[in-house]
Amino acid sequence: MKKNNRSHFKIKALNKEKILNNLSKDYLLFNIKQTDRYIEFDSNKEDGEKIETILLKNNVKELSVKHKGFKLKTLLKMWGVIVGLILGLCAYCFQYFFVFKIEVWGCENLSDKELISFVENQLNSKFRYFINTKEIEIAVKNNFEKVSSVSIAIVGQSLIVSINEAVLPDEMEGEFSPIISQYDGLVTDINLVQGTCNVQVGDIVQKGDVLVYPYIYDADGEQMAVQPKAQIQADVWIKSEDVFYEYLIKEERTGRKIVCSEVSLFNLIIYSNTKENSFDNYESEVESYYLTKNNILPFIYAKYTFYETKTIEINRNFEEEKDEVIEKLRAKSLISLSENEIIKDEKCSINNAGGIYYLSYTITIEKDIGESYGYQFPQS
């Protein structure tokens, strides 16, 4: 028998053994004890009420009964709990029928807020069964040209607006982009197919300059938009620069550091691990982040690191390190090159200004500098 699910009896009777014998014929009794003039015993909870009735019929003088354990009937009689549960259930069911949030998926160029505001205006009611998603879909499609397809669904209490944005080719939009220079360089060859050229052979162009305009003039002098197509070769200069100091004073970390930390809540420090900063010269770094991901209790952990520094003087001889510095500068320039590019020329210039050397390394390559959209030149 489970101790928590039982009925406990305490009785006073003259012929107690007889009563126990009668009860034991039909029911199982446990822990029968005689204390002074009383008898105490337990029974299964299911039998409790029946035993109580029998005892009352047998004229037991004093009777006390305690029912222990969980009883479903008792719970069902707790009206406050039942009413609370029913009200809670009703409130949950009631709010389930309403849409409280609008989410937009798939927006890249379109504004989320604009779309959400439009959909909100289209809603007749927040009640989910009054919302006609098909109508809203059609309205969105008609009012937003950049939307190629739209699907609206109610998931839980959110109205999900899933859209696909249309990608229109330039020709359909009636606009063409000019060919823009992607590099600085000297134009060496022009092969114009379509459009109006803005540069000539020998011109120096900068990155961002217009090379070919997306229009032509017809015989009547009318401007006509066309897709610009051209191949413009240029000598492109890849340049990298550096400064070399023969005498230099700089701060350097010694490797020693002190780490302190603190935890705060609403600017109130809750925990602090502070150590005395004994460094004369130091640099400090602060790193802080939220300890919890929710916004209920925004505990902030801050870590302060103090690095000891020392001042060092550097004396270098440019002539001794010249080759090494130039080689580094060349490597720096080569990083900017693409694969299979032919180097036409390399040049290094050095300017001395009283112990400070300004170095400039220039690599000249030949390259097609115009970006011709949607047109592939035939391979020669």
Partner: protein, 85 residues
């Protein structure tokens, strides 16, 4: 389920002498009884019950009936003596 007492009775050729009750005394702490015919005395020092051909008295201290059904009972406590009359 395996019935220990039935097995013993079946193995004995002459089992007429066997009484109609069974007792098991576990280390003088628990006494299990099968085949009792009713409780006659219940107190912390003496518990007595009827059997078909007489009566059994259990003496000890702190005795109590931890289980009682129509024909079985279990006595717990410090059991000193079990006697048949």
């Amino acid at each position: 389920m395996f019935n220990f007492f039935d097995e013993i009775k079946q193995n004995l050729k002459k089992n007429d002498f066997l009484p109609s009750y069974n007792l098991i005394n576990l280390s003088g702490k628990i006494l299990y009884v099968e085949g009792h015919c009713g409780l006659t005395i219940l107190s912390p020092t003496v518990i007595s019950f009827k059997i078909k051909k007489g009566r059994i008295i259990v003496e000890g201290t702190d005795l109590f009936l931890s289980e009682l059904s129509q024909n079985t009972l279990k006595i717990e406590g410090n059991i000193k003596k079990v006697e048949e009359f």
